[in-house]
């Protein structure tokens, strides 16, 4: 059974693009079965082509009752990664979110969480930057330290901007 990997568009930034890609791949008989490319992509396993729609929900304390409710509504769990749960259903199934409130709650929780992460990552980066300015270390060590501490900034600020922007759009439309 062969697998295919594809790059993600970023679930926090463009979830709709990834969800459309999952549906398109399922139609070609390639079914989402996990993450790939060090968390920057998705892996798909070959199977029978199927028409399906995909959606995602965020829940950190997902109980068996949570998944029972989704299953009863026609949404089958495909994969869970931490508090992110990706589901599929036959086209025409009622959406996962039928009011703005549950979607807004998810986005607000994610925005607040990534705001905390971003502040911590930025403070750490600024402290390292200050240390590099004050101390006179080896040039390569200074550059390496700055690069290592820049990664968490990118990986927390980009999702933060994504969740915040989606939340603002939702608040404007409802």
């Amino acid at each position: 059974m062969s697998t295919t990997n594809k790059m993600s568009n970023g679930l926090a930034v463009s979830p709709e693009k990834d969800l459309a890609m999952f549906a398109d791949m399922a139609g070609q008989g390639k079914h989402l079965n996990g993450i790939a490319k060090l968390g920057h992509g998705w892996s798909f396993v070959d199977g029978v082509p199927e028409e399906a729609v995909f959606d995602l929900a965020y829940e950190s304390n997902a109980s068996s009752e949570y998944f029972d409710i989704f299953q009863a509504a026609g949404w089958e769990l495909v994969i869970s990664m931490g508090d992110v749960h990706i589901f599929k259903a036959v086209p025409g199934t009622a959406p996962i979110h039928t009011n703005a409130e549950s979607r807004r709650d998810e986005l607000t929780r994610n925005r607040d969480r990534y705001l905390r992460y971003s502040v911590i990552a930025l403070i750490a980066f600024l402290l390292v930057g200050l240390g590099v300015r004050v101390a006179s270390w080896n040039e390569w060590l200074e550059l390496s330290l700055l690069m290592v501490f820049a990664f968490p900034v990118v990986y927390t600020v980009v999702p933060l901007v994504g969740y915040w922007s989606h939340l603002n759009k939702l608040n404007r439309s409802s």
Binding site: I69, A72, R104
Partner: protein
């Protein structure tokens, strides 16, 4: 005031009112969706994420309670406070309909 303050003040949005109505009799969470869809003849559709969020908020506000039972198939029922809030919300909407009828008759 936050957007969720209605659960504490008792001034409920439609989704919360629908779920409270379904829990006049004890029901499993997932049964709430099917009950509302059947009773409304398809007019009310509740997505699973929206239902789960609403159940959690109603429980935190003390308007519904979990009955003893299987962890995976929790049964919920209206509390006395939930019943009071439900009656008040129905009455508020009834008054709104009377007002709407009156305005439309005069138009």
């Amino acid at each position: 005031m936050g957007r969720n303050s209605g659960y504490q003040s008792g001034d409920l949005v439609d989704t919360a009112l629908h779920v409270l109505l379904a829990l006049v009799h004890p029901r499993h969470g997932y049964a709430v969706m099917h009950f509302l869809e059947q009773e409304s003849e398809g007019a009310i559709t509740l997505g699973p994420a929206s239902l789960y969020t609403t159940l959690k908020k109603l429980a935190v506000a003390g308007l519904i309670k979990e009955l003893e039972g299987d962890e995976s198939r929790r049964t919920y029922h209206l509390t006395a406070k939930g019943h009071e809030v439900l009656v008040r919300n129905i009455e508020r909407r009834r008054q709104l309909l009377v007002m709407a009828d009156h305005i439309m008759e005069e138009a």
